[in-house]
């Protein structure tokens, strides 16, 4: 793959490498695939009618990975990409997605990534998505991921969603529907600075008996940035749902947390917790008594919090 330094930097940040990874992959740069490979068990096919991929994971596939990172290094590029994942029964896979934008020009660059997962019975997926932006241009770096997870009986999905730096505006939508005994775990990490805005919206339907969902979001809002976290859990069967929003506020930033629990039967156990506040001064004091300066203490807490 021929990549510029900025593109390499993006792939390192979001996928951990700019080299060809083991397993199936598709690397997308400025709207085009620059490298694609399938394996015996994982078939990566470009869609015919729209931009994006159909990814088929065979029944019973174990310990395999798919990398599908996206880089945008052209200013003013706007794209919507549809990726659909069909995960066979009993399969266990890790999917590494993520997108980075380098913008050195005056126009906004936008990536809307729409990911749909159809997870078969007893299958287990781990989905890792990192978002990242940088570049000297005045144009915005805008990322709007939509993730839709359909979990069949006794399947499990773990989503690790992370936006650490440089994304000016984001609207993140995550929806999930769970059948009997299905499990969903979400770990979200968000950091905004400058005048960035981030909206993170979850809608989880616990339809199946003994289905469970656990959404844990941690975020830091700095400078003048604004964040909204909205999590709706709907329990229409005997089920357990938990959502948690823990935010550190700094400077003039704002965070809005809007929990919604919708229990349609008395057997639904739904919990929401939200805690928003500045770094407690006792936390800083404690670390200073261990020899750190105030600034060192602050960055320790921030880095630890987003881990």
């Amino acid at each position: 793959m021929e990549l510029t330094n900025e593109e390499k930097q993006i792939f390192c940040e979001v996928a951990g490498t700019f080299e060809i990874p083991a397993g199936a992959y598709n690397f997308r740069v400025n709207g085009k695939s620059v490298g694609r490979s399938s394996t015996t068990n994982i078939d990566v096919r470009p869609k015919k009618d729209q931009s994006g991929l159909d990814i088929y994971i065979k029944k019973g596939t174990k310990n395999e990975q798919v990398h599908i990172p996206v880089a945008i290094s052209a200013t003013g590029l706007k794209e919507a990409v549809y990726n659909d994942f069909y995960i066979g029964d009993d399969a266990e896979v890790t999917i590494i997605a993520g997108c980075g934008i380098y913008n050195c020009g005056p126009s906004d660059s936008v990536h809307d990534g729409i990911h749909r997962f159809y997870v078969g019975k007893n299958a287990k997926i781990k989905y890792i998505e990192k978002h990242y932006g940088f570049g000297p241009g005045k144009g915005g770096r805008i990322l709007n991921p939509t993730t839709e997870v359909n979990l069949s009986q006794n399947s499990e999905a773990t989503l690790e969603l992370e936006q650490i730096k440089g994304v000016d505006s984001t609207i993140r939508k995550t929806t999930a529907a769970l059948e009997n005994d299905a499990k969903l775990f979400v770990k979200e990490r968000l950091m905004t600075h400058g005048r960035q805005t981030a909206d993170s919206i979850y809608e989880v339907e616990l339809n199946g008996k003994d289905s469970t969902a656990d959404i844990a979001s941690r975020s830091i809002a700095q400078d003048y940035s604004k964040q909204t976290f909205k999590a709706t859990i709907i329990g229409s069967n005997k089920c357990r749902g938990h959502s948690e929003c823990d935010a550190i506020l700094m400077d003039q930033a704002e965070v809005h947390a809007i929990p919604a629990l919708d229990a349609k039967t008395k057997d639904a156990e739904l919990i929401h917790e939200a805690a928003i506040g500045k770094i407690a001064s006792v936390e800083l004091t404690k670390l200073m008594t261990l020899g750190l300066t105030r600034a060192e203490a602050e960055s320790r807490i921030i880095n630890g919090f987003l881990k």
């Binding site: 823990d246 404690k286 008594t289 807490i301």
Partner: protein, 232 residues
């Protein structure tokens, strides 16, 4: 080593304005001093003033002959002063191993970190635990104590180390305190616990921000038992 000269802390309003009232005190290396006294008598405040968390309205603090009254918490910590908080602090996102690394001021191996945990009756299974409300009060308190031991300070202040800690562990803490003393560390323990009071070279009784009495356990303990102090 540590000299407190005529330290007072006055606040505006509240039921008492003299939180600390002309306190003078000297602690030498290898000395173990226990400060006791009723709730609200100013014990923690005195410790916080020594650590630099609070600033006295008048008086001076000297450490190794130099005036540290206006020095920052960080500089005092680097000079060798450590303080184990009465109320352990939650540190979201920081696990026990990271905390002990920060406290040591250098990278330490998990084995070395575990040695500090063993001293407070914990084991290596705690290394990856986050310092949050998912730990019990007693566990947090022990980790707090381990964090100051990891600093290997020359002056160490423990604020009610017995609080929330079971009897078995208090016995092992007593051993830790004896070792510190043997190795020449100046130790101040704020405590109401008889086992700890008995270890003291010197007991200091605070009341209403003043030193009411001080002396050896043989002299002070008989006066405390039966009184409102020292019972626990």
């Amino acid at each position: 080593m540590l000299e407190i000269r005529n330290v007072s802390l006055k606040v505006k309003g509240g039921s008492r304005t003299n939180i600390l009232d002309h306190i003078s005190l000297r602690i030498k290396p290898g000395t173990l001093a226990v400060i006791t006294g009723p709730n609200g008598s100013g014990k923690s405040t005195l410790a916080e003033i020594i650590m630099g968390i609070k600033t006295p309205t008048s008086g001076k603090i000297l450490f190794n002959e130099s005036d540290i009254t206006t020095q920052s918490i960080t500089d005092r910590a680097k000079a060798g002063i450590a303080y184990s908080f009465q109320q352990p602090v939650h540190l979201r996102g920081i696990d026990v191993y990271t905390l002990l690394n920060i406290a040591s001021g250098e990278l330490i191996t998990p084995e070395t970190a575990t040695q500090y945990l063993v001293k407070v009756g914990l084991d290596s299974s705690y290394l990856s635990r986050e310092i949050s409300n998912k730990l019990s009060g007693g566990e947090l308190k022990r980790i707090e104590i381990a964090s100051v031991l990891a600093r290997r300070p020359t002056l160490i202040i423990f604020d009610e180390p017995e609080a929330g800690i079971d009897l078995w562990s208090i016995n092992s803490l007593v051993k830790v305190f004896k070792k510190l003393k043997e190795s020449g560390v100046a130790t101040i323990i704020i405590s109401h616990q008889e086992k700890i009071l008995k270890l003291a070279d010197k007991i200091i009784v605070l009341e209403n921000g003043k030193i009411k009495q001080q002396g050896t356990p043989a002299k002070i303990l008989p006066k405390l038992t039966g009184g409102k102090d020292g019972t626990n």
